[in-house]
Symmetry: C2
Subunit: 201 residues, 2 copies
């Protein structure tokens, strides 16, 4: 339904929801996960805290949903990895886009706050993994299965493990801040993962 | 002669140093990085806080050194990766040992606390990387260079990037708590990284 034809209360809810997401992401990026509170989010969003408690059971739930919303906007409605028939080209495109996302300031602060908290909080980690991370990783599983069917990936590999050779190195650089995340790095990770570190016979 | 060089006080110093390390690691594992304080470490170690301030400039410095000490003990004086001439076998041994270390309760809590703080604190991350992480990663660089010389790794690969296909997946599972870290997983990561995800010609 076009925005203008939704009932007035629905439009107002949508505006509040958006304000709450924005406030939650801004706050967690600025003061960290531990010091972000429902009260703080409500004050910054200009809503009553009961509005937040009506829609979400916990701070973690608000933040995860806000973050899911960012991820969905970044995906721009694309819920599959590209499949041009050329696995290497497609994976380079995807990993370069991931590099850009990890380097983007909008994403960086809230993503780090959530990831850092997940490292030490198993309950939050379980939600983070179930709602945000595994759905993204499943896109890789699907693309790698298609590549197996097309003869571009070895039939014997387990795609759920194989994808970690692609996303693991990027996450390692980003989370532990070892070296810069660049497009050239993304390309090399794809090349090394597909063709292996051992000499080809 | 500084007090710490005198024999009797040297023994006392060594005992204090060890007590401070133990207290720092226990505390950071129990209450997290943010709530660990020099005062708390001193109280738990049974030393005056001036003793700590005399030896270390900051909480981060104590914790990193305590953690380095654990890592050195775990390495048991071995500062090179094994080189039997069989790269695949050697890497499986190393990654299985890493899995065991990441799964060990002694290591897990303080390592997570430090890693989580590094994710959101660039200054701590820089020290963590320089003093702890990069020295460990350099062992992989040396082993991969030896493998290149022995014809067991492709001459064209950059070992500093290649190693991330080995350690990145393990760090990803451990930090983000996606799936269990097992020896079988370590073996598959080594196999996939060495032989590649694409079919061999």
């Amino acid at each position: 339904m076009p925005e203008s034809r939704k009932p007035v209360s629905s439009r107002r809810s949508e505006r509040s929801r958006r304000a709450i997401y924005d406030a939650a992401l801004a706050l967690v990026g600025e003061v960290g996960y531990a010091r972000t509170t429902i009260e703080g989010i409500a004050a910054r969003a200009g809503v009553g805290k009961q509005t937040i408690y009506r829609w979400w059971p916990s701070k973690a739930a608000v933040l995860l949903e806000a973050f899911l919303d960012v991820a969905e906007q970044a995906a721009q409605g694309e819920y599959e990895l590209p499949d041009t028939g050329d696995l290497e080209k497609d994976l380079k495109l995807v990993l370069r886009a991931t590099v850009d996302e990890l380097n983007s300031p909008v994403y960086d602060a809230p993503a780090r706050a959530l990831a850092a908290e997940s490292v030490v909080d198993p309950a939050l980690a379980a939600q983070f993994v179930e709602k945000l991370l595994e759905p993204q990783l499943r896109l890789y599983v699907h693309r790698l299965r298609a590549a197996q069917d097309a003869g571009q990936a070895s039939p014997g590999i387990d795609p759920r493990i194989a994808l970690e050779l692609l996303v693991g190195p990027l996450a390692h650089r980003w989370l532990l801040r070892t070296l810069p995340l660049t497009h050239d790095y993304a390309d090399k990770v794809v090349e090394y993962a597909l063709h292996g570190l051992a000499p080809r016979p």
